[in-house]
Symmetry: C2
DNA sequence: AACTTGATGGTACGGTCGTATCACAAAGAG
DNA sequence: CTCTTTGTGATACGACCGTACCATCAAGTT
């Protein structure tokens, strides 16, 4: 046998190449040859590790979601040791706003995938429901904790506010992406609503 | 000269064919030939009335925005004669949620356009800023009127709430589109926030 | 040493896409 | 009646795309 290469590692490299070029030129414009060139390998290798383009896209989406999850987790950790629910919530919301190149790419590519998934049944809706639902559950639980700790009004509905904040974050993110709004004003808007929620207790 | 055909009319027919097929199979999958078949004309005619695909897309986007504007206006009118700001606001928000086939297509195609516009400088960012900005101004003005009429808290910030509601509506709309959420719960969420805003006055 | 097998490169095939070209019919203008 | 112009059809071209096929090299195995 030859070199014995770690398939998982190689697949990750190629998937990240896919995300990079998708972030630059849009997911719709990404071909197998572009991915190969970006990853510095031959077209054949992309075929070798992902037999078909559809599998490449699917793996790319999973990898994107995973990397984004790690990014959010890192931001939350950076919010300090033993941060309160509010700090965690703010970190969580801010992390998903397009600010630097990475989060901008994330937003763009994720939205592209979503659009594709609506019409293409092959790109299972799975990842588009599981991950957002997980974020929703997490945020709901954080708000519930805040309410129990008396940091919010007693009649706060955690899930309602969680869904609202995430929907707002997504909508604002799109606005930033198309250049309608800048990141700072979007962040200020989100903080305004966090302020609103964290009022009435204390 | 031959038949002397109304160009504007024909362009509209073709643009609507574009929107129909884009709504079914996704904007990324739409070719000139698909549009021609959907409109019941030959490929050549599509080329004749829109020289290039890019111009076809651009005109399609403008037509989409226009039709959507009319739709919202109709919904607002249907809210009754001399409706209060609140009824108008609710009608405005609900109309832009994907409920029937038309609004679902609108959301999908508009999002597709937005994704394309991020990377393709030819698809001018114009329509993606002008129209949302107009909606934002309209909603801001409605909220300001409501505040002046004492229907809301006196310290309400009209523009902040307008942007928030529209961003939420967009985010929720995407959620509905990908099947994460159903239309009724999204509508209920929006109404919840309208309720929140229209409180404290009276 | 011969063989097997995983990793890789090169390249060709069939299809589709946007666009361009050529041809022609029909309807007024002179 | 001829001529010009507008609308319409058919088809061809060149590019690109995803996929498939074939060859080759390297590293163990027997």
């Amino acid at each position: 046998m030859p070199k014995r290469v770690d398939h998982g590692e190689r697949r990750t490299e190629i998937a990240e190449a896919l995300l990079r070029v998708a972030g630059r030129r849009g997911l719709h414009a990404v071909g197998m040859r572009d991915v190969a060139a970006e990853a510095g390998v031959s077209l054949r290798l992309v075929q070798y590790y992902f037999e078909t383009k559809e599998k490449l896209l699917l793996h790319g989406l999973e990898h994107l979601a995973e990397r984004f999850g790690e990014r959010v987790a890192a931001r939350v950790r950076a919010a300090g040791d033993a941060p309160g629910p509010r700090a965690v919530i703010e970190a969580l919301l801010m992390a998903s706003l397009p600010s630097d190149e990475e989060s901008r790419t994330f937003h763009l590519v994720y939205t592209s995938y979503a659009v594709l998934a609506v019409t293409d049944p092959a790109l299972a809706a799975q990842p588009f429901i599981r991950n957002p639902d997980a974020a929703e559950d997490t945020l709901t639980e954080l708000l519930r904790q805040a309410r129990e700790a008396g940091l919010t009004q007693a009649d706060l509905e955690p899930r309602v506010e969680a869904i609202s904040l995430l929907a707002m974050s997504a909508g604002l993110g799109t606005g930033v992406l198309v250049g309608q709004r800048d990141t700072r004003s979007a962040a200020a808007l989100l903080r305004h609503h966090v302020d609103r929620i964290f009022t009435g207790g204390e």
